[in-house]
């Protein structure tokens, strides 16, 4: 079709202007894609969480602990298959900026409850046998170049002093969504050391992790656990792991909202830029459109010409931006692996990209199209020369 030929050639006629506009759209789509990915990776932890696992913590706040003695009591509750426990350690590796999650756990039960952390039998055995041993996720070990047998020292923040560990295992994630940046070690190691330096803080547990016999029992078991410790010194709050993670994330909800808003603001800005470009372009082509109308082409043809040109430009920019998103996300994800262990551009983000581009293209074309159609042929022709 001739109209298509004209609109495609129009789109790339002024190479500098089209090129800059396309670049602008590409950068906007790239920024949009990365911001959306930040948000979705933020929630990825929640998605990966299981509903058949429960987490029990102190009812007052996550920063208060629970007595170790609860372990036995929880195990007695009907529907409970296995119980593990751990403490958030909050250690620092060399410098503050090297942030990664690290905590101590009761290793035997923890590995059973979390089968998504895949460890070879030999490494598992070595880890269980070494009180000072620790296990690191594949990404974490790769980042710091740790190899099996390497000594690693963390500086305690919650538990002061330098803590020495030996790497005994490197786990691999079973799924895409499994966090491969964790660092965990023996709860006993922490507890015994604490016992010596500050006895009142010993035998305290940050959180219990409970595997239930059947997922549909989760709610009942959670109620039963909390009921057991009602009116005791440390009351508990038990929720599914998913809810627990959501609560964790809710704390940073404001930031997520801000990022979300910025991602849309980027799109609105580029919309204004493209609308301006299209307004300029169509003003220059008023004569062309007048000629086409003179020859007998109708308003519909002019509409197709302008919308088509606008969409060609916005979709070209979008495609460029989408292609750039992948390497950019890979680089971004690598450098921020500790904050966003799962940084994958989702299909939804790509759909949103395309949707945004179509919106940009159409909105930018509306006003110029109205102007081009409204102007009388005779007036349009007078603008030439």
């Amino acid at each position: 079709m001739m109209i298509l030929k004209i609109l495609f050639r129009n789109a790339f006629h002024n190479k500098l202007r089209s090129g800059l506009t396309i670049l602008g759209i590409a950068v906007a789509i790239l920024a949009f894609g990365l911001l959306r990915t930040v948000i979705s990776s933020w929630y990825a932890g929640v998605e990966a969480a299981s509903t058949s696992r429960l987490v029990t913590r102190n009812a007052i706040s996550i920063i208060f602990t629970l007595p170790l003695s609860y372990n036995e009591k929880i195990r007695q509750i009907e529907g409970v298959k296995m119980v593990s426990y751990g403490n958030w350690f909050g250690g620092v590796y060399i410098e503050e900026k090297n942030f990664f999650p690290n905590f101590c756990v009761e290793p035997r039960t923890y590995l059973e409850i979390y089968p998504e952390f895949v460890l070879s039998p030999a490494e598992k055995k070595a880890f269980l046998a070494d009180r000072k041993g620790f296990v690191a996720g594949r990404k974490l070990a790769a980042k710091y170049g740790w190899k099996i047998g390497d000594p690693v020292t963390l500086k305690g923040t919650i538990y002061p002093g330098n803590w020495d560990f030996v790497l005994r295992g490197i786990y691999k994630g079973r799924d895409d969504t499994t966090d491969e940046t964790q660092f965990y070690f023996h709860w006993d190691y922490l507890n015994e050391t604490i016992k010596k330096v500050s006895p009142p803080r010993a035998d305290q547990v940050g959180f219990y992790m409970i595997a239930v016999t059947r997922p549909d029992l989760s709610a009942d078991v959670a109620l039963a656990v909390d009921k057991t410790f009602k009116n005791s010194l440390a009351e508990t709050l038990t929720e599914t792991e998913k809810a627990f993670n959501q609560g964790f994330i809710a704390m940073s909800g404001a930031i997520v909202t801000a990022i979300q808003m910025v991602s849309f603001v980027v799109i609105i800005i580029i919309m204004a830029v493209v609308a301006n470009t299209m307004a300029m372009t169509t003003r220059e082509r008023i004569g062309d459109y007048a000629i086409m109308k003179t020859l007998g082409f109708g308003g519909r043809d002019i509409t197709v010409l302008i919308f088509g040109e606008s969409l060609v430009i916005s979709l070209t920019g979008c495609l460029t931006g989408m292609i750039l998103t992948f390497p950019a996300a890979a680089a971004f994800g690598q450098s921020l692996a500790n904050f966003f262990p799962i940084f994958i551009v989702s299909r939804e983000t790509l759909y949103l990209d395309i949707l945004a581009a179509i919106l940009i293209g159409c909105l930018a074309a509306i006003i110029p199209t109205r102007q081009a159609i409204r102007i009388g042929i005779a007036d349009g022709l007078r603008r030439i020369g």
Binding site: I3, H13, T294, G296, F297, G298, I377, A378
Partner: protein, 235 residues
């Protein structure tokens, strides 16, 4: 040419004014005249006298306030926008001062453009366009874009585009206004040939007395009035 005396255009009591905000600017007053088939008419007059306006009205790209314009068997003043567009595509060939080719289309594609509104096949469109380009002597410039052609060549492409649909009338608004003398002569000679050899009815607006000389008949417009009656061109 026996039917040469038949009127192809009949204009009766035509009035036209423009509106600038609340201000009404009258431009044409009580214009009445006929154009016979096969005519080559030059419309002359000072700047602002309403020549372009009159041409636009009889070519169906502007609407009169009053009066009728009959072209062939049809009164185009009764047409809707869509009907007018359809009518122009079939009955009018346009030649403008600034050629007005589509810059992103090659010469041949520009000539083909109006044929896209007809039912011709792709092949037929190409054949017709090539023939029209051959008639204006530009078959060797088929694949050139307008900016790669001289003014005179661009105007010849525009003429090819105007005749490719075999329209009832050809209208030309200052077709030589932007050309040097040599190119202008070429274009005029070509229009003369279209008229004499192919019997095309041509209505041409011009300032240029040399251009007017080529026409068979002259009409003068002054401040919106036709000032003469059927004066034959002295040539």
């Amino acid at each position: 040419m026996a039917e040469q005396k038949q009127n192809i255009v009949e204009i009766r009591h035509l009035y036209k004014s423009y509106h600038r905000g609340s201000l009404v600017v009258p431009v044409l007053f009580d214009i009445t005249f006929d154009i016979v088939s096969g005519e080559f008419l030059a419309l002359m007059g000072p700047s602002g006298s309403g020549k372009t306006t009159l041409l636009n009205l009889l070519a169906g790209i502007d609407k009169a306030d009053e009066g009728s314009i009959r072209v062939g068997d049809l009164d185009i003043t009764t047409f809707s926008e869509t009907e007018l567009a359809h009518w122009r595509a079939n009955h009018v060939g346009f030649i403008f001062q600034f050629y007005n080719l589509i810059p992103v289309l090659k010469a041949i594609e520009n000539v083909e453009l109006p044929l896209h509104l007809t039912s011709l096949s792709k092949r037929e469109r190409r054949d017709h366009a090539e023939m029209a380009l051959r008639m204006v002597g530009l078959e060797h410039r088929m694949d050139h874009y307008p900016q790669e052609l001289s003014g005179g060549e661009q105007q010849r492409v525009a003429i090819a585009r105007a005749i490719v649909t075999d329209p009832t009338i050809l209208v030309a608004d200052e077709p030589t206004g932007d050309l040097d003398r040599v190119s202008a002569e070429e274009i005029l000679a070509m229009m003369e040939r279209l008229n004499s050899e192919m019997g095309k009815t041509i209505i041409m607006v011009t300032h240029d007395p040399r251009a007017a000389q080529r026409a068979k008949i002259l009409r003068h417009l002054d401040k919106g009035y036709l000032t003469d009656d059927d004066s034959q061109n002295p040539l």
